[in-house]
């Protein structure tokens, strides 16, 4: 424990323990599940937005309430210094760039739905623009989630990035929401699995000694 590298290891271990509860996976799964369900249920625009907002709110509520009621009483509370704040700021920047790029891709996806130019392949004719827009959307989703995973040092998010990006590709190609429902269900299942493991690994301390009674 005498080198800077070892101290970084301590920091990494402390930081990663924050993601051990699976609550971020559950929140992320809810966000994409909301998108998939809204696509599949063919609701009116107003109800669609409302339904989507409700599912996303459910995910965020699970994250916030879970952190307060499940994680902190079992794992303890920690505040990371300037490095942690920098990580958070970087993730917000990545999300903002991702949103701008997504907005820029909307005209391409709308145009792609028209199936205009087609190429002949062994399986029949293929809509070129649709393939391009599907690839662009899934690459964007993968890039945003992977960069978030790198900034956050959250390894499971790399796997989620692949699952969700693959789901978006299928959604765009098939014009159906169910691949995203399936993909987000996998992410949710990983989150719930992590939460169960977390609950087993970190039982709630006895109420008479919530802080170990540090006599100071």
């Amino acid at each position: 424990m005498t080198t800077t590298a070892d101290l970084k290891d301590f920091e990494r271990r402390a930081w990663r323990s924050v993601f051990a509860d699976g609550l971020w996976d559950i929140a992320l799964g809810c966000v994409f599940l909301g998108t998939g369900l809204t696509m599949s249920l063919s609701l009116s625009r107003g109800w669609g937005y409302l339904f989507y907002a409700a599912i996303v709110a459910l995910g965020i509520a699970a994250l916030l309430i879970g952190k307060r009621r499940i994680t902190i009483p079992r794992l303890g509370w920690v505040r990371f210094g300037p490095k942690g704040q920098k990580r958070r700021r970087n993730v917000i920047i990545v999300l903002a760039v991702g949103l701008i790029l997504t907005a820029a891709l909307i005209p391409l996806t709308v145009l792609a739905r028209s199936n205009l130019p087609r190429v002949h392949g062994p399986a029949g004719t293929l809509p070129v623009l649709r393939i391009l827009s599907s690839l662009a959307v899934s690459a964007l989703v993968w890039a945003v989630l992977s960069v978030m995973a790198a900034f956050w040092e959250f390894p499971r998010l790399y796997a989620h990035a692949l699952i969700i990006a693959g789901s978006f590709f299928a959604v765009e190609m098939l014009s159906r929401g169910w691949p995203l429902i399936a993909g987000s269900a996998i992410v949710l299942a990983i989150g719930v699995g992590s939460l169960i493991r977390f609950l087993k690994a970190y039982p709630k301390p006895a109420p008479e000694a919530p802080d170990g009674g540090s006599g100071s």
Binding site: A14, W77, F80, P210, S214
Partner: protein
Amino acid sequence: MAVPEAENEDLQPLAGIDRVIHEPARLMVLAYLSVVESADFLFIQRQTGLTGGNLSSHLTRLEGAGYVTIRKEFVDRIPRTLLRITRKGRDAFRSYQRTMLQVLNDLPE
């Protein structure tokens, strides 16, 4: 049998080592507190794997040396013991790191 002074030269810095930090459990506690802004008792206990009583006694020692501050507060009517490394603790920890590196580097293979 006493070691001749010339042979003992490389180990001289060890004589001035901070014994408060040199204890493995306290070293681990300070290492964790040095990489976060603040944490509560339970978090440090989970990370270090120490028992509550053990951690409590080590914290008392570190607080006595002025290396950590221990502050009690209530969150949702639940007591929380907040721990934070002090400037003095951070300096002592860095000095300890430097000393140990020097001693270990100077030792023959």
